[in-house]
């Protein structure tokens, strides 16, 4: 059972990482001294260039990998391999935390879309009637009925991403962790996914998103954490403050300088499409 495990535990802190280190095969560092506290119901964004440790961090939050050093806790309870050997804890944790992988092909491993969607709740012992109800609700909301009997390899990238999200949402987790949810998607699908995340957050879910798509950061985050090339958090703050700190973004490979033409005028500025040159674009 996932419950408060310590007396000084603050009720609304859902994840807490204290001086966390992790390396692959013991020699390729992926996280170096990460400290973070995530409150329940928050929208968090993790931004950083490729290889800055975002995906590793998210997998650690989902209890898929464990810290070499430091402490990761969920609702006051330390996450480690031994803890997940306890079936009751493991099931309770999986019911509360949902993870959407960067590569949807990884997440859609069943022969059909429907099998993929119902896989999670089935493994977690949710009653079939309840699963059917949730499935119908999600299908109606996201208009995916016609995809249910299709194999995943016949879907477009956007459809796969949507189904991957649905396959996690059907578990009805309190925390949604998303690894690059909008990478490679067209603007319309990106929009629908952002709207969905905002809606889920409004309903009380905690949303943790790793991305380097700065277009969506402001909408999907209350607080932004910037991961640097040294595999640690270099800065955190409100989305608007982080997005306006062009030096920080440039230093961490999140913006680049480019020039382009609007009407008869050539501009040279950082490539950051949030509220930049709004007057000149109009």
């Amino acid at each position: 059972m996932v419950t408060s495990g310590s007396d000084n535990y603050m009720d609304n802190i859902i994840f807490e990482l204290d001086k966390v280190y992790f390396s692959y095969l013991g020699k390729f560092p992926a996280l170096c001294g990460v400290n973070i506290k995530i409150n329940q119901g928050q929208k968090i964004s993790i931004i950083g260039a490729n290889g800055s440790g975002k995906s590793t961090f998210l997998q650690m939050l989902d209890g898929l990998i464990f810290a070499d050093q430091g402490r990761v806790s969920f609702c006051g309870q330390q996450l480690n391999e031994k803890k997940f050997d306890d079936l009751k804890f493991s099931q309770e944790f999986r019911r509360k935390v949902g993870f959407i992988f960067q590569n949807s092909d990884v997440q859609l491993f069943c022969p059909t879309v429907k099998d993929d969607i119902v896989f999670g709740p089935l493994q977690l012992g949710v009653a079939k009637g309840q699963i059917q109800k949730r499935l119908e609700k999600l299908c109606a909301a996201l208009k995916i009925e016609e995809l249910l009997d299709r194999p995943a390899h016949q879907l477009s990238i956007g459809e796969k991403r949507k189904i991957a999200i649905v396959s996690t949402l059907i578990i009805d987790p309190q925390v949604l962790i998303l690894d690059e949810p909008t990478a490679g998607l067209d603007p319309l699908t990106t929009r629908s996914i952002v709207d969905l995340l905002i809606e889920e957050n409004n309903s009380g879910k905690t949303i943790i998103t790793a991305t380097h798509d700065l277009h969506i950061v402001e909408e999907v985050s209350d607080i932004v954490y910037v991961f640097g090339q040294h595999k640690s958090i270099v800065k955190s703050g409100l989305a608007v403050d982080i997005l306006n700190d062009l030096v920080l973004l440039e230093e961490n490979n999140l913006v680049h300088i480019h020039s382009h033409r609007h009407k008869d005028k050539v501009h040279i500025h950082p490539h950051l499409h949030s509220e930049h040159h709004a007057d000149e674009h109009s």
């Binding site: 590569n103 429907k114 089935l122």
Partner: protein, 268 residues
């Protein structure tokens, strides 16, 4: 499209595999008679047909069963051309070569002639044996192809449960079916990338090296994918024993079909 180039041939081969898979899925989605039956009932009834084909030694009975398989193909909205192509190519043709020597077996002579002093005699009993053998093969193949074309692949996998095959094997088979398409896409793109850079002028040894490196790279990818997929399963609550969704329903139509099958087999 025929080509001596190994890259072209590989791409064409992969496209054919994908096309066959898509055609099968399309047929299984059509609103035909066999498609409307419960897959479990369909498999049991087809097993009964195949057993009957193997047990009967009567050419007329075999002919009736073969004609019935063609009738089933028609009412299941499968084009006869496609069905005959799939059933007659390879297996029955090979069985024809195997059965050929049998027509010269002992028995009542039907036709005899001399070739370079060797006397060849086709006998009635020999001919009957060969015809029965070929009829059995083609009828069995027809029922199997019909089952494959009218049933979605994932349903066939799920039905394996009724034969008490453990869920873990069915899950693994399902994943193989799922990821084979992903890997075909990767291989196809790799070959297209090779073709775009070096064209079709690949020497034999160079080609061998490329294929070897592709196999290694694919092996590495599949190992990484296995790890990631396992994580994705764990993340959604997998505990080592997979639970599957089963929404098959046996209706009156299925019972009637099963009754009809028993009557047909009894009558034949």
């Amino acid at each position: 499209m025929k080509s001596d180039n190994f890259i072209e041939r590989s791409i064409v081969g992969m496209l054919t595999f994908l096309k066959d898979g898509i055609i099968s899925e399309e047929c299984a989605l059509r609103k035909g008679f066999l498609q409307s039956l419960d897959p479990r009932v369909k498999i049991i009834s087809f097993l009964l047909f195949i057993l009957q084909v193997l047990m009967t030694g009567n050419i007329q009975s075999l002919a009736v069963l073969y004609a019935f398989s063609l009738f089933l193909a028609v009412v299941s909205r499968i084009k006869l051309g496609l069905f005959l192509r799939r059933t007659w190519i390879f297996i029955p043709l090979f069985s024809l070569f195997i059965a050929l020597p049998a027509i010269f077996g002992p028995g009542e002579a039907l036709l005899a002639w001399n070739i370079f002093g060797i006397k060849l005699v086709i006998t009635r009993q020999g001919l009957d044996t060969a015809v029965i053998f070929i009829m059995r093969v083609i009828t069995c193949v027809s029922f199997v192809v019909l089952l494959n074309l009218t049933t979605k692949h994932f349903e066939l996998l799920k039905v394996l449960r009724i034969f008490r095959i453990p869920q873990i094997f069915i899950t693994i088979l399902g994943m193989c079916y799922r990821y084979i398409y992903l890997f075909i896409g990767i291989i196809q793109n790799k070959y297209l990338a090779i073709k775009s850079r070096i064209g079709s002028g690949v020497k034999y040894q160079q080609g061998q090296e490329m294929v070897a490196w592709n196999i290694v790279s694919l092996w590495e990818r599949s190992t990484n994918l296995t790890e990631e997929v396992y994580k994705a399963m764990l993340s959604r609550g997998y505990q080592g024993e997979s639970v599957a969704w089963n929404d098959f329903k046996i209706r009156i139509r299925d019972y009637l079909w099963l009754l009809a099958v028993v009557i047909i087999i009894w009558t034949i």
